[in-house]
């Protein structure tokens, strides 16, 4: 089922939560809505589900305008962050609920509902737990039951609101892999909301990065990480350092120091330089480089992360060096980023060198 979100606006008592958002989702895709809290990602998901209604714009399911349809009519499978399992029902009854409440004409017989529930329980790898109650399950198991329950109604799209948000790190990683498998096996068009970029980049076919009620960028994990199209995306996805610089004569300057980076077609004037802390080259001498004084350094996994004070006002930036290098506080380091990007102080991109 293709999904088309067309110029959606949504405001809650006058406060805009979504501002002219458009998005095309192809049949069978696994899409992540990624953004910080308050970016509107959950609102967008709830609008697609029909749990809320937009202030303006339209939502199409395939060729059909679903904007005015109720959540029941849309036939979506929705998985909630806190599972929302019915605590007075067994696991099997939870999964069968969507079939049980169907009108008599389309409701399967009891034995069939039970059979479907057990089948789905098998799919989510919880066979044998059908007579348990939700409070007898772990968080990860509950979320699997919630997914089975959503799948039971044979939904046209599957929507997941921070599905792993309430689980601990190890369980999250397992469930992530498992969700990908389920998706590949069932082929449902799936949209999930997350604030965890690792989850989004690892799991989704395409990632929708959102900020302040707008879509910043849509693309594959490679697109989003390698060619971020705004300072927000550059800063939000992965580690990044930024320096306020100036473009003059096709060169990039930090105050009166030449950085040795070609600005290309970037127009003259003030700009922001973004680069990844790990993607740098340390230099011995410095004719055209970024040089700074070490303020602190700390070990982060396989690397050592060094904080530098650069330039007159002492802009703080971070770079990564091999862990075996020991760097005294107050020492000098010179380096040049291998790949970087220039943005105007306000949003627009004005020049880049890509890897």
């Amino acid at each position: 089922m293709d999904l088309r979100v067309n110029s959606i606006d949504k405001s809650f008592s006058g406060v805009a939560a979504l501002d002219n958002v458009s998005l095309d989702i192809h049949s069978g895709e696994l899409i992540a809505l990624l953004g910080p809290s308050g970016s509107g990602k959950t609102t967008l998901l709830r609008l697609i589900a029909g749990l809320d209604f937009p202030t303006g714009g339209a939502i199409h399911f395939g060729n059909e305008d679903a904007s005015a349809k109720s959540v029941q009519e849309r036939n979506v499978g929705f998985v909630f962050q806190h599972y929302a399992l019915f605590r007075h029902m067994t696991v099997a009854d939870n999964i069968g609920f969507g079939l049980k409440v169907r009108p008599a004409a389309t409701r399967p017989p009891k034995t069939e509902i039970r059979r479907r529930a057990l089948e789905l329980l098998d799919l989510v790898q919880l066979s044998g737990l059908e007579n348990r109650y939700p409070n007898q399950l772990s968080g990860g198991q509950r979320q699997r039951v919630a997914l089975a329950r959503a799948l039971a109604i044979e939904p046209r799209v599957l929507l997941l609101d921070e599905p792993f948000g309430a689980l601990d790190a190890q369980v999250r990683r397992d469930l992530r892999r498992w969700l990908r498998e389920i998706h590949d096996r069932t082929g449902h068009t799936t949209v999930f909301v997350t604030h965890d970029q690792e989850e989004a980049l690892e799991l989704a076919d395409r990632v929708v990065v959102m900020s302040k009620g707008r879509i910043e960028q849509v693309g594959s994990a490679d697109d989003i990480y390698d060619t971020p199209n705004s300072p927000f995306v550059y800063g939000f996805i992965g580690e990044s350092s930024r320096l306020p610089v100036r473009v003059e004569d096709g060169q990039i300057w930090l105050e009166d120091r030449l950085l040795g980076l070609e600005a290309g077609h970037a127009p003259a004037g003030p700009a922001q330089l973004f680069f990844r802390p790990h993607d740098i080259e340390e230099l011995e001498g410095c004719g055209g480089c970024i040089a700074g004084t070490v303020t602190t350094s700390r070990r982060v996994e396989a690397k050592r992360r060094v904080e530098l004070a650069v330039g007159g006002p002492g802009h703080r930036i971070e770079i990564e060096v091999p862990a075996e290098r020991s760097i005294p506080d107050g020492g000098r380091i010179a380096f040049r980023p291998n790949s970087w990007k220039l943005f105007r102080p306000i949003e627009a991109r004005i020049g880049a060198k890509l890897p």
Partner: protein, 296 residues
């Protein structure tokens, strides 16, 4: 080696033992003083009157007590009390669920006002509640004569007694359910409708099971109050013997007639009702607490 371990033991023994004490706990003296005061107070104010009711009722033997309970007026009072409760409690049940639902699950203007309004019967004297109905339906009012001309007698009749009781017991169920439903939020309901359930199915299969213990608890309290209400009912009843007398009124009438044994016999029935309510309440709290605690 043995020496050093001995020395270690010795040094432990030499250390003066300061027993660990819960920092929020009081000293034993304070604790027992407080407990004794509480128990003495309860015994004096609550327990002794309860015993007095029963002992007074049984002073001339249980046959006399029984006879005064099965006497015609007393039976009529019991019947009326039951009728009033049977009407008032279900009505307040429906109202309470509706009010709690709308307050807990929707946002609308005037919500704070509605909550205050629900509390009104708690804050106003029951006598005032009765007088309000006199003003509304009395001979001097606009409504009373009109309803009378249709053959509807409100005041000094069963409808008045029922109305006054409904007013007084109005908040019990709503008050019990509002915090519970607010706490539960709308997640389960959203899950149900996203699975295709309509409003009624959602209420019946999801909302109601979630609130059932709280609801039962509210009904229990509401019922106890409905059967025991005196002030408001006393104003609107008109005290027609065998017609508009509820059990609490019957107790007062018997007492005023110096028929102490009969008064206390009927009163002991009310007291028994209270005791049964308390027991049920405790049982419910246990079950409900277990159910509630298991949620997380």
């Amino acid at each position: 080696m043995a020496d050093s371990s001995l020395a270690l033991q010795g040094s432990f023994a030499a250390t003066p033992q300061t027993p660990f004490r819960d920092p929020t706990a009081e000293s034993p003296v304070a604790k027992w003083t407080l407990i004794s005061i509480a128990i003495a107070f309860l015994a004096l104010i609550l327990f002794m009157p309860l015993v007095a009711v029963f002992s007074e009722a049984l002073r001339r033997g249980w046959q006399v007590a029984l006879a005064s309970i099965v006497e015609a007026d007393a039976v009529a009072a019991m019947q009326l009390t039951l009728i009033v409760a049977v009407i008032a409690v279900p009505l307040n049940l429906v109202f309470g669920v509706a009010a709690a639902w709308s307050i807990a699950k929707f946002e609308f203007k005037g919500k704070a006002f509605l909550i205050t309004l629900i509390d009104l019967p708690f804050s106003v004297s029951p006598v005032i509640a009765g007088l309000v109905y006199i003003l509304l339906f009395g001979a001097g009012s606009y409504l009373g004569p009109v309803l009378n001309s249709w053959g509807l007698q409100i005041l000094f009749a069963v409808p008045g007694v029922v109305l006054a009781t409904i007013f007084v017991t109005f908040p019990f169920i709503a008050r019990e359910l509002i915090p519970l439903m607010q706490d539960q939020g709308t997640g389960d309901e959203e899950a149900a409708i996203s699975l295709g359930a309509n409003g009624w199915q959602t209420f019946w299969n999801v909302t109601l099971p979630n609130i059932k213990w709280g609801l039962l608890y509210g009904v229990l309290l509401c019922n106890a109050r409905a059967m025991g209400e005196f002030g408001a009912v006393s104003v609107v009843s008109g005290r027609l013997r065998g017609e508009t007398i509820t059990m609490p009124l019957q107790v007062e009438i018997l007492y005023n007639e110096y028929n102490f044994v009969a008064a206390f016999a009927v009163a002991s029935l009310l007291a028994l009702l209270a005791l049964v309510t308390l027991v049920l309440k405790t049982v419910l709290e246990r079950v409900y607490g277990r159910d509630h605690g298991a949620r997380h």
